[in-house]
Subunit: 171 residues, 2 copies
């Protein structure tokens, strides 16, 4: 009975045993727990600054793509402008983010991290990289390749395309 519930339309060949509902459910739980640990590190740091996860995300992607517009960021984060604006205003007020009027289109705002912002970004991402590095090196390169492949496939195709393009065109 155990581990034998095959998914619809799957033959019982050994090569497909990783698609049982049980295996899928285990993957689902691993995602839940891993993500929680993954966000716990920066969350602890953010407490000291009275910021939240939303601030972290903004800082991360501004660092990733310096000069991106508010609309770009909205697109990436998938939240409303009102929600992002609250966070962004704080970061600008606190001198972590520089919001410059667009040169070609002056309606737009190009976002940059200040030195202070970069310092926090470094601190936050360092804490996550420590965890990733440990997991990667314990698991080994082949596992990491598989990890990346599956995660990519979990992302909606149109979003995946945008992300992969973003990752290629790195600073």
């Amino acid at each position: 009975m155990q581990n034998s519930t095959l998914t619809t339309g799957q033959s019982k060949g050994e090569q497909l045993l990783f698609l049982t509902d049980d295996q899928l459910r285990q993957g689902i739980e691993l995602m839940f727990f891993a993500y929680r640990c993954f966000t716990a590190d920066p969350d602890r740091i953010l407490e000291n600054y009275a910021y939240g996860r939303a601030h972290h995300r903004a800082i991360h992607f501004i660092n990733r793509r310096p000069g991106l517009t508010v609309n770009d960021l909205l697109d990436i984060l998938g939240v409303t402008k009102q929600s992002l604006n609250r966070v962004l205003r704080q970061l600008v007020e606190d001198g972590l983010v520089d919001s410059r009027v667009g040169r070609t289109d002056r309606r737009q705002r190009n976002l940059f991290l200040t030195d202070k912002g970069q310092a926090l970004e470094q601190e936050l991402s360092a804490s996550q990289r420590v965890r990733m590095r440990r997991a990667y090196s314990t698991a080994g390169p082949e596992s990491v390749q598989g990890f990346r492949t599956v995660l990519e496939q979990m992302i909606d195709p149109d979003l995946r395309e945008r992300i992969l393009r973003m990752m290629e065109t790195r600073a």
Copy 2:
């Protein structure tokens, strides 16, 4: 310059190139986007029932370990009892969860899904399993193994132990 920032103490051998800061950052972003897509499916379903992600998590683990106590669930979810209680009370009121007084220790409450609860669980987890199955089958068994290995390593050791034990002792 690109993709060449080695992490502290890493030799430049090809076998360790997957530990550059860039690679780690890409892993971090993949986690962010994949998790968002991963939760988007059940979130859409939950809207129809006026429930949130917290309800989903409770339902998931009650289904996973029928008869678990409130304390067990608190331990797994890592939230406060006040936070869980709000959710649990709703689920009991709405007839999705059955809270029975413990037989050996009558202070405890053993939690079970009702038929109605199981139906919703099925609907929710099915939507996630569709995504997982698609990702798994596209990526292939070797990638899935790597995916699982890395995720396990991302989880704090003590929590990891408990989870793996939970996965083994499946219903």
